[in-house]
Amino acid sequence: MSDQIELRVNGKSIRVAGGTVVAAAIALAGVSCFRKSVLGEARGPLCGMGICMECRVTINAQPHCRSCQVLCEEGMEVRTDE
């Protein structure tokens, strides 16, 4: 696809096709830990459809966004737990 979007995942710049969800951009950036659990385990998306809340990340300084439900936008700043 030609309509490329540029965003940043944990400070790293990445270009994705239009229609890509934030969760996919995070995976494309090579990040597997989306959030740290209560006991400190690394977690990534489970349900992919907005109900399990495992894919929560910070998008544009707004914490706890379900990254599987949000489309990438130009200039977005995405932060996962590291």
Binding site: V38, C47, I51, Q69
Partner: protein, 445 residues
């Protein structure tokens, strides 16, 4: 500023097959209709991606029809509560929304059923439907080794979909016995289109092992899954993979129906022949009433749409078609019934509640779901028991007794907006005070 208050004669929650069909009928019957959906897409989970890359003619047809129907779409709008009769409270990025309705049609769909086993919380283990949805939205699967496991016809469809996107399907493990799956294949003879679809998928997956009576017992990895151990009950073996797509069929999304006072029957929303629930002016269609697939949902949605817009003759004309799909629904449930071994995959230290990290051993100390929630915090985290509650139902037979608002984690400003409105009106601020800390905690820390 975005609009905050909306008024419609008929409001449909969910833009999947059932919701789209209901909305089309009601709008074509001249009603003012809105469809409210959590996502930025039309078509729900099953038809996700069909807007961008139309591949399923049926999905295209309904999405087009919806666009021409005159119904309003309120997308990216998550319903969080039903603060009083005739009103839904929802969240949108621009702020809370109050949606008023005369008739309400619930088409909230289903989610995948996840069962805990050692290692199941590792990154890279996703629901089959979930992985397919994400893959359609850009998740990289090309060249990835994927094991598909769990239960239901979705496993084959997902394996097929992922393979088309360049994934290497290592194997497919279906927990149901071969005899049952074959029997289900025979019932497809009554649904030639489905049979042809199944045959095409199976053909494209030639060379990929499809094993029945096989299920996962353990996943291992480091920063993500590296291998999964499967068993047929006699012997166990390990398969290396980059992704494990694992789900044990579907569980209905009944939180909002429960919040609206709809009665359940055996875990599904009870409806009469007109798709009417036990709650006044509230209808329900599709998976919440029974797991029957998109075709079943389309017919139920049409019936609900006609009924809610007082076109009962048109609704009745669809009863026969619906009973055909209800037979299919029963056949599905029989063929892919879960085997008893799946109840004991988790060990004492396996986490069952992923939000609050509560282990099976801890949960076992309690007599029931409510007791376990109160004392261990299981089911009290961000997903509000959507994952572990469904698992606990299978493992312990515990049922969800009730649901409390908000039905999704909500921003405090959304809840304040209801409380303010109610106190301004001198009404009872019952919902505001019932919105307890657990759901909000996530947003405060």
């Amino acid at each position: 500023m975005s609009e905050r208050r909306f008024d419609f004669e008929i409001v449909v929650v969910g833009a999947g097959p059932a919701g789209l069909a209901a909305a089309c009928m009601a709008a074509e019957n001249g009603k003012r209709v809105a469809v409210v959906d959590d996502t930025p897409w039309l078509g729900g989970q099953i038809w996700r991606g069909q807007q961008a890359r139309p591949l399923v003619p049926q999905a295209q047809k309904w999405i087009e029809r919806f666009r021409r129907s005159g119904a309003t779409l309120l997308d990216r709008t998550s319903v969080i509560a039903a603060p009083r009769a005739g009103v839904l409270l929802a969240e949108h990025a621009n702020g809370p929304r109050e949606i008023h309705w005369d008739k309400l049609i619930l088409a909230t769909g289903a989610r995948e059923l996840f069962l805990p086993f050692p290692g199941w919380t590792l990154p890279g283990i996703l629901g089959p439907g979930g992985l397919q949805s994400l893959a359609k939205s850009g998740w990289p699967v090309s060249g990835q080794r994927v094991v598909v496991a769990g239960s239901g016809p979705l496993l084959l469809a997902v394996a097929d979909g992922l393979k088309k996107l360049g994934a290497k399907i290592v194997s497919i493990a279906e927990q149901a016995q071969w005899g049952r799956v074959a029997g289900f294949g025979a019932t497809l003879l009554a649904h030639p289109a489905k049979l042809a679809q199944a045959a095409r998928i199976k053909w494209r997956l030639l060379g990929v092992p499809y094993r029945c009576g096989v299920w996962p017992v353990k996943a291992e990895g480091d920063t993500q899954i590296r291998q999964v151990t499967l068993t047929d009950g006699q012997r166990s073996w390990t398969e290396a993979c980059d992704l494990l797509a694992c789900g044990f069929g579907l569980a209905p999304n009944v939180e909002l129906p429960l919040a609206l006072g709809c009665e359940l029957l055996e875990g599904f929303v009870w409806v009469d022949a007109w798709q009417a629930t036990s709650a006044a002016h509230v209808y329900c269609a599709g998976e919440p009433t029974g797991i029957g697939g998109a075709d079943c949902a389309l017919v139920e949605g049409q019936i609900a749409g006609h009924t809610a817009s007082e076109h009962k003759a048109e609704a009745q004309a669809l009863f026969q078609e619906r009973s055909r799909w209800h037979e299919f629904r029963s056949a599905l449930a029989r063929a892919f019934a879960l085997r008893a071994e799946l109840k004991s995959l988790a060990t004492a230290d396996t986490l069952v509640c992923r939000c609050e990290d509560v282990s099976l051993g801890r949960m076992k100390q309690f007599a029931g779901w409510r007791d376990a929630k109160l004392q261990s915090r299981c089911g009290m985290g961000a997903c509000q028991g959507r994952v572990c509650g469904a698992a606990a139902k299978v493992i312990f037979g515990w049922g969800m007794e009730s649901v409390r608002p908000p039905v999704l984690p909500a921003r405090i400003e959304s809840l304040i907006s209801v409380a303010e409105k109610e106190s301004a009106e001198g009404g009872k601020a019952s919902t505001g005070s019932e919105c307890r800390a657990p759901a909000l905690r996530e947003y405060e820390n």
